[in-house]
Symmetry: C2
Subunit: 499 residues, 2 copies
């Protein structure tokens, strides 16, 4: 384990944690955070020692309380600090004396409000004592496997009617690591990922990033077995060269999907007044990301859509896309979007066309179906036609990836077309994504069935096309770096374990 | 009523309908369509006479069956034709003899499979007899108020497990008219609109459009009281000048949102093999749409998002957008998207800044809040802060439209901020759209609450920004044409009736 990995490990897997500013008051962040740890400890998820630090309490939630870090009998690896900014430097001195390795400062009121002095004091103490600091002004860490949970936003909310609603849910376990500069967007993302059934490995928000930054987190996630994909939300990346050095090593093994905002002039101004971020020229980010194989997305939806694509599917070995549909209009939308993204949707080779012709002669392919590309098996579509057509396209050497636009509305189509395509997919390493349009029962069922069987499904043809475009870009990058085969081999191994 | 309006009226409000090819067989389109009419007649929704036409049956669903159109005792205004293509010209001859005014040909197998002869025969008979024809190869008409329902796709589907699921739902009543060339996209759209609780007035799909085209439908919807917004999906508009003439008159009164696909070269090729459409140069469409005030969207989601914006909100009187948020990151996303769409997010006037400063001095605006634009009331946000800030922004003459990014996750924010903003909105004619991010309980509740109170709500900052951009473009066009005040006056009248 490199020194950075070891240091970052302290934030995610500490053997002992002190919550400085732990509280009994239900609405205080110091209460919510301490309760998260206490609950997870009782459940046996968080296995470390846990100490509340508060001058005025003897016990909090059954845990003996200490007036300061120095009074805690055992060692403290990680301190979570939830007290007013002005008192933080003193806590840092105590942490240094106590031998604390990692400090997360949740509290706000530092450089983001134009007061860099306290933050500078914190950094200077940390440097001397070799303490790594996350924050200040951040949400900290949420780690599903170790039970480290610093999210202080209420998991449920009580409406004025008295009804209780889930407000800030925790997603299920999975393999996406999320790094976010914005805390507000971070929790919103957790809410989104939960609702869309996308699993995460770990989550980290670092706010002002006075010490630990995205590059060190990337380094950590590179070595983290549970993390296969990294989603990065950033308003500015100040240490550009450091970022590129790390990112280049990471992307050989794991995709980094970056949502860098402040891309317009007014956006950059807004970012500056938000986290004090100096966004810099947007084109420089474009070039830098492309150089080290970071996939950049343009909006929030694409961010998650692309993340989902990587969670399920391998990269593509080329840019020619096959489109299979029972709905002409939506296939035109998919072609438009693929082409806009620089992909191609070429007509088939003569051999592939002959295969389709054979199906037609056998009577299993509808007479009026189009077998160019997109393949449109029309409103007469059956599960069998979807399966047979998908097979021809996956076998066709000229096709690198497949978009299945299986609109469920056609009368003869049974929902088992999903299962048939998923079974077929197991024999190939070409990426497949699906789309069904609609927001009522059957559409929701079809999309969720696809995803249960490992094929990411989208609610519009354009979303599906953007997802496949990311798989193409990343494939091209891996090829260039000579890492494509290794990546796909690892992906196949993981898939086969799940099967 | 102009002659065209009168003719089109025959498709939506016929006094008597014959279904040629009505059937007892459950899976036949001729059965589903006849049953739709029969059910709606029993419910008292469809008030016209109804006649099944079938050589081999005496009765269908309790209705006396006739061997041909000519044998029907009463008059027939509209014939819906669901028999094989080859037999259609003969039916047209009978329709001509019978004095039928309108024919919808649902059947496929005409020019779209390279057989123009039958279609030409149909057109020539229709021309001579002054019959208007919709189709062939189409879904026809769905009219929620008159009970005309030609959708032959199964409303429910039985899974292989035996469970019954809604598959092709009918949306609720509302004021969006939908015109679509693609039938498959048409039903998918109905599914989407149903799930998103967007109401429609009427729906029409015209497939090969051998006679009636989008321009005539636009003319009809211009005069249709129930229709306030028109969504148009097209792969090609052949009669360009005619379209522009009509569209120009329509857009003075009602927004037309156009989703024109085949915008790339490969997309155009796909469209050609789908409906035989010659897509033409995409830039020409851009220019033509802009000239006559048609709002063009780039993808499916934007199509519906913009439709929803017009269903709820007035156009904007300028392009400077106010953004109000409790979440810094998402507000940067909104600014980026606004600026990319050519809008501005300018800093406030000194007067507006002073208003915010007053709030801060009174202690109702958080100390660390940003009052530039976006206004970020931070994680300390309360309902009151949202209301007070929104009021300042709606009062500010430099702000033409408002995006409220109210992320529900912040601890102190109660859900009644939605009601407060909606109450406030009633006193202004500036458009407001909202966004909350998340896919679990609270986010779904917040978005649906906004929409119940007349403010369209989106699940990403970019979607909200695209929606507001359309309200700005349309406002600019109306101003140029001198129709802005009339439009807003009509909009206010409708809003006040609802209140």
């Amino acid at each position: 384990m490199s020194i950075i990995v070891k240091q970052m490990h302290g934030f995610f897997s500490p053997n002992s944690v002190a919550v400085v500013g732990a509280s009994k008051k239900i609405n205080k962040a110091g209460h919510v955070i301490f309760k998260n740890f206490a609950d997870n400890r009782r459940r046996g998820v968080f296995k470390g020692e846990l100490y509340p630090v508060n001058l005025h309490e003897d016990y909090i939630l059954g845990f003996k309380c200490y007036p300061s870090l120095s009074k805690i009998p055992g060692g403290v690896e990680l301190a979570v600090v939830v007290i007013p900014a002005a008192a933080v430097p003193k806590v840092m001195e105590e942490a240094a004396a106590k031998g604390v390795r990692s400090v997360v400062i949740i509290s706000a009121g530092f450089s983001e409000i134009g007061k860099p002095e306290i933050e500078n004091a914190v950094v200077s103490i940390a440097k001397k004592a070799d303490i790594r600091v996350l924050g200040p002004n951040c949400l900290g860490v949420y780690d599903i496997s170790t039970g480290v949970d610093m999210l202080f936003l209420p998991e449920t909310k009580v409406l004025t009617t008295g009804d209780v609603f889930i407000a800030t849910p925790r997603p299920m376990a999975g393999h996406i690591a999320m790094i976010t500069q914005s805390g507000a967007f971070g929790v919103a993302a957790l809410d989104y990922l939960t609702g869309r059934q996308m699993g995460i490995s770990r989550f980290v928000s670092f706010g002002n990033k006075c010490d630990v930054d995205e590059s060190e987190m990337l380094e950590y996630f590179l070595h983290d077995q549970e993390t296969w994909i990294i989603l990065l939300y950033a308003e500015a990346i100040e240490a550009g060269r450091k970022f590129m050095r790390v990112a280049e090593r990471v992307t050989e093994k794991k995709p980094i999907v970056a949502f860098k905002t402040g891309r317009t002039k007014a956006g950059a101004r807004a970012a500056a007044s938000h986290t004090g971020a100096i966004a810099g020229s947007d084109k420089i980010y474009d070039a830098a990301f492309a150089q080290v194989g970071v996939i950049r997305v343009q909006d929030m939806e694409e961010f998650f859509d692309v993340g989902k694509a990587f969670a399920f599917q391998p990269p593509a070995a080329g840019d020619n896309i096959g489109i299979l549909t029972d709905a002409g209009g939506p296939s035109v939308m998919a072609v438009d979007e693929c082409e806009s993204k620089g992909l191609t949707v070429k007509e088939f080779s003569e051999e592939t066309l002959r295969e389709f012709e054979n199906l037609r002669l056998k009577g299993v392919f509808p007479k009026f179906a189009t077998s160019l590309n997109p393949v449109d098996i029309t409103g007469s579509a059956t599960s069998e036609m979807f399966e047979l057509s998908a097979k021809i396209m996956l076998d066709a050497p000229e096709i690198n990836a497949l978009i299945v636009l299986g609109l469920h509305h056609t009368p003869a189509l049974q929902e088992d077309f999903v299962d048939r395509i998923a079974s077929l997919a197991k024999h190939y390493t070409k990426p497949i994504v699906a789309c069904d349009i609609g927001e009522t029962e059957m559409a929701l069922f079809i999309r969720s069935r696809f995803e249960k069987l490992g094929i990411p499904a989208y609610s519009s043809p354009e979303d599906a096309s953007r997802a496949i475009a990311a798989l193409v870009y990343y494939g091209e990058y891996l090829e260039k770096k000579g890492c494509f085969d290794d990546y796909v081999e690892r992906w196949v191994r993981r898939r086969d374990i799940k099967l």
